[in-house]
Symmetry: D2
Subunit: 268 residues, 4 copies
């Protein structure tokens, strides 16, 4: 049942015109759409409203760069070693966008979505909470159950921002202001509120986790959330690679490792 | 002389705050900067003016997706084979961003910049042309010299848009409208005008080449122009990967190749 | 507790000598070790016996190339697009080495190891079977339990070799001949024997799965089994890239897709 | 003229058999070919002689690992960040296999091949030297010409092994012993002999450069020499990734960079 045609709704062209997302690229898009808008549109096949766009771009801004992360250092070292291939250095940096560093955004969103789904499909007529008390009740029962299983709630806690992740309150405020605050954010916020009571200590809501909840409330498909984080990081990595061209650190990282080897060969 | 500190001007953080490009991320950037603006800023260390941003985003829009390019197909096949690693599929797609496909943007910009530099450094007091006649003269002499060496001018001609690349007139018009039309665009436009006279046939200015000239006139460093094309393509590839999740073609591409093998083993 | 020194037991060098795995590279290894032997040694920190090496190289041979797999096509398309970066094309090919295609080797080995571990740790004094009847009993009970959960046994069945994977009997025979046949192979073989009885139909033992069992019986760490498959595939991909240099198919794959687009733009 | 069939001479299969390089994988190759032999065969489409294989494997051994190179560190950092994707970490490491680090092998071989070609095609009947005096004469004239152009001879000198690269004399001796010493090695050796006279100082022949000359004398296509270095490095990187699983350094590298930031934001 192999198909002989290949379906896409993104770009296509003929001798006279280029079409993107069903629009004429030259006359309808160039100079008339921002890159953030286009990225949202390419991913969801839906042009964002102004509010959706603000939130999407806030997430991209929040995730673009965190300084010398392992991924940024890996990209720079790859550039040191192969300066002829900028795409290789960028790709090396993005390959670190997996479970541990960029994963919080995706993991948190999936956990929230799964929890919401489990709640509403538990019994006929089950509904999502409509007020803070209701959300807290749901969050507390889920958190208590996970605690008993020895599992944590994804997106709670941050290795550096131990009291509060500075991105968190701003992303919540923007979501309310722009009318995109939905059940994922409501549930995540409730987890933050009930943590002291259920876990015995306050834990900050991780900003990258909030980003996941924002994107889920915007309706982005779960399977691409990691991709949004990668797009954001792509811009940050390009910044690092320009810095590596003008003010390199790759050789120093390498030398500081290579000069401090503790050599432990296997037994002969 | 290995340094023990590592310089960056991008992101950094402490327990209470996150700083990006010298600004407080939470209070000064989130919700207040578009992703295109941030990307320009990360790459150039300079916040773009409104006009610069329109042109930068027009370029990103022009380069984001061209349908089933080899890079898009490679990304989709990689996803087919390793759906657990979205970052791997994205990286595979970006790795095709080399000399042949995405290279026009960079090659064209470099050629224009080198030509301008050679002209002004040829003799003391040499200046760039100030009118169309002057640009045509410069373009014609350079083009004639290359013709004699059997070399072409990068960015002239397009495999599909044989008469006119539809992006080209719009990008020129936008550059004029937004006041970012500079010597790279002027020289490239002149190459288009003199081609019939010097080469004996009209050749369209490749839109990806115009993008290179636009970015060069915006002052972006040459070494990162390929990176801008990669950032644009990152958005397009994410669109392809979402389509691959919902309406896959990877398996069909694979089967249509694998069922039509012409097996030519080496002699035994 | 960040360490300031970096431990390795692989390579190191000073002005006069290069050391690899605790041996002098120049006088003790060059011309005296095969590449397969070195790879086994680098991965396990143990020089293989002659028998271990035969089995390790048989696995590498079995996994090196399967013709136009998605990964081989992705590598070739990437080379088409960026011929200046052989490493990028190779990396793109390896990035497909994930859960679906190369994953069988790893998944099968892990499943076998987990099953063996569960059996021996179930009760004090529990031992592995010592004869075929015992292995069949263990295999049948595990397979029946998985069937009830709606799960399959990794490594059973093959999309092309529906009756028998031709690699399978040879790998079993070689393992017996070389004395490396151990509990992972014994259990896997038993799954094959009991399948008709438990599942109601015979299923061939996938050769890539047998490779996983062979490597597990050789004592390779589970975390690197996918890496062995990647090393094998690295050689195959280089073969494809040389073919792409001399007798390219990338452009044809691209054109045959790009000319058969079914364009389905999103609603405006 | 797009082709509808796809040519390969590597692997293919049907329901009953798997063919590799025109041989039945199960009955003719498994257990009967070493991995090094298979790799040579896949790349060149020619089964190596015993002598060719020794030299090929000596090169792979010489290039497999150099400790904490930028590529090894990049692979480890990528694993730190995305431990779920071994293939991504391996790919990141290989992406550093570009012009600067792994490039010597390829650059040196190409330079030697170009020099030999230029010499024999200079005039009708021109032949390669037949003794040391002749080789020295050729080497000295080429080296003097390059010196005048301000260019160096690729493969001369080594950042660590300033007097002698320990791999160099062994590789030359092995080539002589196995009868694979040809014009590329002869010319490279001559460059080493004449350097003191022409450049005024002795420069060691870089071992990675000798590897390039060995591979060229074995008749490997120039376009794949970088690939041989990548295959060798693949084994070394797997060793590093196993070490990263058991005795990690990635987090320490990251922390030692991230704690020593010199933050230089752009002017506001």
């Amino acid at each position: 049942m192999t198909k002989q045609t290949y379906t896409t709704g993104l770009g296509t062209s003929n001798a006279d015109s280029i079409t993107l997302l069903g629009h004429d690229l030259a006359s309808e898009l160039l100079g008339k759409t921002s890159f953030g808008e286009l990225a949202f549109w390419l991913i969801t096949k839906k042009r964002p409203s102004k509010s959706e766009l603000v939130m999407f771009e806030a997430v991209l801004t929040a995730l673009a760069d965190h300084g010398f992360t392992p991924t940024a250092i890996a990209a720079r070292l790859t550039y040191t070693s192969a300066p002829d291939s900028l795409q290789g250095a960028l790709a090396a940096g993005l390959l670190g966008g997996g479970s541990r560093f960029l994963g919080v955004t995706e993991d948190c969103a999936k956990f929230l979505a799964d929890t919401l789904h489990a709640h509403t499909s538990k019994e006929p007529g089950a509904r999502l909470p409509t007020n803070e008390v209701g959300w807290d009740e749901l969050a507390a029962s889920v958190m208590a159950a996970r605690k008993q299983e020895g599992k944590f709630v994804p997106g709670l806690g941050h290795p550096v921002h131990k009291v509060q992740d500075p991105r968190t309150p701003v992303l919540f405020a923007l979501s309310r202001e722009h009318g995109t605050y939905g059940p994922h954010l409501a549930l995540f916020e409730a987890f933050g509120r009930v943590a002291p009571r259920v876990l015995g200590k306050a834990l900050p809501l991780n900003g990258a986790g909030v980003c996941g909840a924002v994107l889920a409330d915007l309706g982005l498909p779960m399977g691409v959330l990691r991709g949004v984080a990668l797009l954001a990081r792509c811009a940050g990595l390009l910044g690092h690679l320009v810095e590596e061209q003008t003010d390199p650190i790759g050789i120093d990282v390498y030398m500081n490792v290579d000069r401090n080897i503790d050599y432990q060969p296997p037994p002969r």
